[in-house]
């Protein structure tokens, strides 16, 4: 389209892993100076692999990379940084016990390996950088004590401190709250104004629509197409990304809720630092109803779920399931009584990554008779059958039931958790951040499945930082702020402005 020469070109990149997996099948991308370039694709499409090749972390099997007019071969990230290409990974690479300052200057501390580090000078440099971008980061606090949004800025600063011209951001919004996303976008626009080139990797359509200038969509290791964002629509991008039309809005029939399945009365829960994280919540979830809880993360949602699921002590108040008091019961008792829990962090709470798909498929119910033989030992034949049923029913893409669960993509891991929890035949399902970091197709599947559970007269408690998700799925929803509900509303009877106010702590 343009006559300009690209600042960066990756030509016919092929990557075949040693186990024979073809991650990239001849991908070509061109990035122009001073633009925000979007790389859109589902999880497992090869976006991250492509960028790791660019950043010198992986060697391409074939293909060439041209940067600023000449061919480059990066052997390590340090090589790439030295030439002016920086990357902020989805999972941060920060030294947790180091301060922001130490993290940023590491490896570029100034002259003299055994001379005193010139802290003053480094701080001055960083202050200038931060002033230009109009944000502040506390430089002397260990980064483990800082929120993820700040940690991400430290990662960005780390790259800018090294004067990179091209900044790659891999799924930068996956861990951020909506407000932090907005702030990040402001920073990206400022960087663009400074003449930096940004590569924005994402699978979120609305974010790509909002921030990028051009988008290349890749699917299954191949480029599907490149469009100017101003010419694109979310529907078009979704079709390119998934390969078929996607229903962006969930179809939901009206459904009449039945009797109360789950009830919480004046619940108080303490957080990790002893603060009152949940402060006197009362609500109920009926059969055939999805009750959603929205709100900026860190307002007590995690503590609420953990208390309900038996993972955290209840300070005060009662929890009832089908009229029975279940306050303080252990997770195992709760499972047997009909609660299922899709936890918010699938890799730490939902799955054991090193264990096989079939082992993971019976977590939380391995003690049940249906999986044991006459000697009350685990009958692996039955377990494998169960895992295969789940894989078939939920269309999970898995290389086999005996392969470690980490070999599945994020979306398929999440589907496996949903499948497992539902197979416990629960009456009450807690779904915490059920589609976080999940590709579009799986998200669509999981959301539809939650609606299906509701239509089957199950009670569903949905807790999500994704406001659209809560609005689309819930029959009733609450907005949580500092451990309390700012209001309980019906999604179709409320405006976005009202919700925004409640998320900011204004009670209705």
């Amino acid at each position: 389209m343009e006559e300009r020469t690209p600042v960066l070109e990756m030509r016919d990149i092929v990557k075949v892993y040693s186990d024979g997996t073809r991650a990239l099948n001849g991908v070509t991308i061109k990035v122009y100076k001073g633009e925000i370039f979007g790389l859109l694709g589902e999880n497992g499409a090869g976006k991250t692999t492509l960028m790791k090749i660019l950043f010198g972390m992986l060697k391409p099997t074939a293909g060439k990379i041209f940067f600023q007019g000449s061919e480059v071969h990066f052997k390590s990230p340090a090589d790439a940084i030295a030439r002016g290409i920086g990357m902020v990974h989805q999972h941060f690479t920060l030294v947790e016990v180091f301060t922001a300052l130490e993290n940023i200057i590491l490896g570029k501390e100034g002259h003299g390996l055994f001379s005193k580090i010139d802290v003053k000078n480094a701080k001055k440099k960083l202050q200038t950088l931060m002033d230009e971008l109009n944000f502040q980061v506390p430089l002397d606090v260990p980064v483990e004590n800082l929120p993820v949004g700040i940690q991400q800025r430290i990662e960005i600063l780390k790259m800018l401190y090294r004067n990179v011209d091209v900044l790659i951001l891999d799924e930068p919004t996956a861990v951020l709250t909506p407000i932090e996303v907005k702030e990040l976008f402001d920073v990206l626009r400022k960087l663009k104004a400074q003449g930096k080139t940004i590569i924005f990797i994402s699978h979120k359509l609305n974010e790509v629509m909002e921030i990028t200038d051009r988008v290349t969509v890749i699917r299954k290791g191949k480029v599907i197409g490149t469009v100017n964002t101003s010419d694109a629509t979310p529907q078009l991008l979704a079709r390119m990304m998934v390969g078929r039309d996607v229903v962006l809005r969930i179809q939901k029939k009206p459904h009449k809720p039945g009797k109360t399945v789950f009830r919480v009365e004046d619940l108080w829960v303490k957080g990790d630092r002893g603060e009152d994280a949940v402060r006197g919540l009362s609500f109920e979830v009926k059969a055939g109803e999805i009750f959603g809880i929205a709100g900026v993360e860190g307002n007590g949602q995690s503590e609420l779920i953990e208390a309900i699921a038996g993972l955290r002590d209840v300070e005060k108040g009662r929890v009832y399931l089908m009229g029975k008091d279940i306050t303080g019961k252990k997770p195992r008792e709760l499972y047997d009584m009909g609660i299922a829990h899709i936890p918010e962090d699938r890799t730490h709470m939902g799955l054991i990554l090193e264990m096989s798909v079939m082992e993971n498929a019976i977590l939380g119910m391995y003690w049940r008779r249906e999986f044991s033989n006459g000697w009350r030992l685990i009958d692996w034949g039955k377990v494998e059958g169960h895992a295969k049923e789940l894989i078939d029913e939920f269309e999970i893409v898995a290389p086999g039931t005996r392969r470690p669960v980490k070999s599945l993509s994020g979306g398929n891991q999440q589907k496996l958790i949903v499948a497992r929890e539902v197979s416990k035949r629960p009456e009450f399902i807690i779904a915490a951040q059920p589609t976080r970091g999940v590709d579009v197709a799986s998200t669509e599947y999981i959301r539809n499945y939650l609606v299906k559970l509701r239509d089957e007269d199950k009670a569903v408690l949905l807790v999500s930082a994704d406001l659209d998700e809560v609005l689309q799925l819930s029959d009733r929803m609450a907005i949580m702020y500092e451990g309390q509900f700012m209001g309980v509303v019906k999604p179709d009877e409320v405006t976005e402005e009202q919700i925004g106010l409640m998320m900011g702590g204004v009670s209705q």
Binding site: M57, A78, I81, V95, V97, F98, K108, L113
Partner: protein, 303 residues
Amino acid sequence: MNTGMILGLTLGSLAAMVPIVLTSVGAAISERAGVVNIGYEGILMLSAFFGTITAELAHNGWVGLLGGALTGIAIGIVHGVITVYLKGDHVIPGIGINLIGYGGVAFGILAYWGTAGQHQVAPNAQIKPLWMDAFGNSLSPMVVITIAVAFIAWWVLFKTPFGLRIRAVGENPEAADALGVNVELYRFTAVLIASALSGIAGAYLSVDWLGTVTKTIAAGRGFIALANMVFSGWDPILSLVGGLIFGFFDNLAIYIQNNPWLAGTIPWQFIATLPYLVTLLVVAGIIGRARAPKWDGIPYKRE
């Protein structure tokens, strides 16, 4: 208690502190970089032996310390290649080093000097004290050097780029690697520094403090030093405190054994265990508050 006795105990405690602190400081540097070595006991043994040989050949105690350092480095190279470059287990090589230390020195004394289990270091191969009184109380220059080493190590670890990188490769080698810090080089260097310091500590036992080589000369000090490293939170300056506690009780035990009345009342076996017992109790009381480097003992491989 008279002043003479207090002076004796103080100087004795300082002398006993030296090998513990040198080894602890080295171990702290190595573990800050992410490499565990439980073989310091073996390094102490072997460098006490080879340190004596080099000192006697050169008729100079300082050359003995150099011999000890080189012995330590030689062992460190083996440990470093296995753990850092070959990505092997960090504990198993240490077990090997300790076994070689105990067996090798017992055999070496017999093979080299022809005496069983013990060899008296020639006076001209020993390090001269800085100060000495008529009752045999003395102050070794190594006491001063050890305290200086602890402070210098702290300064290097926490104030210089070198130290920042050492700590980074032990806390998050991936982050360090991504910023161009050569993880293997820094880990290997830290291992060599640790083994050299521990080698000097071993040679100090024979050519300075004790003036003799025995087949059990390290007497668990390599392990106590590791405990002291944890107790001091991988901090070189704090390790001076733990070293002094051990040194004090080590001396008190000797004092009690030499006092006929006390020695008659308390069984000597109990007294001999006193320094180890007290050090372990102190360590056990404080352990858990300090946090080990995150990648301590874990080999780093690029993906």
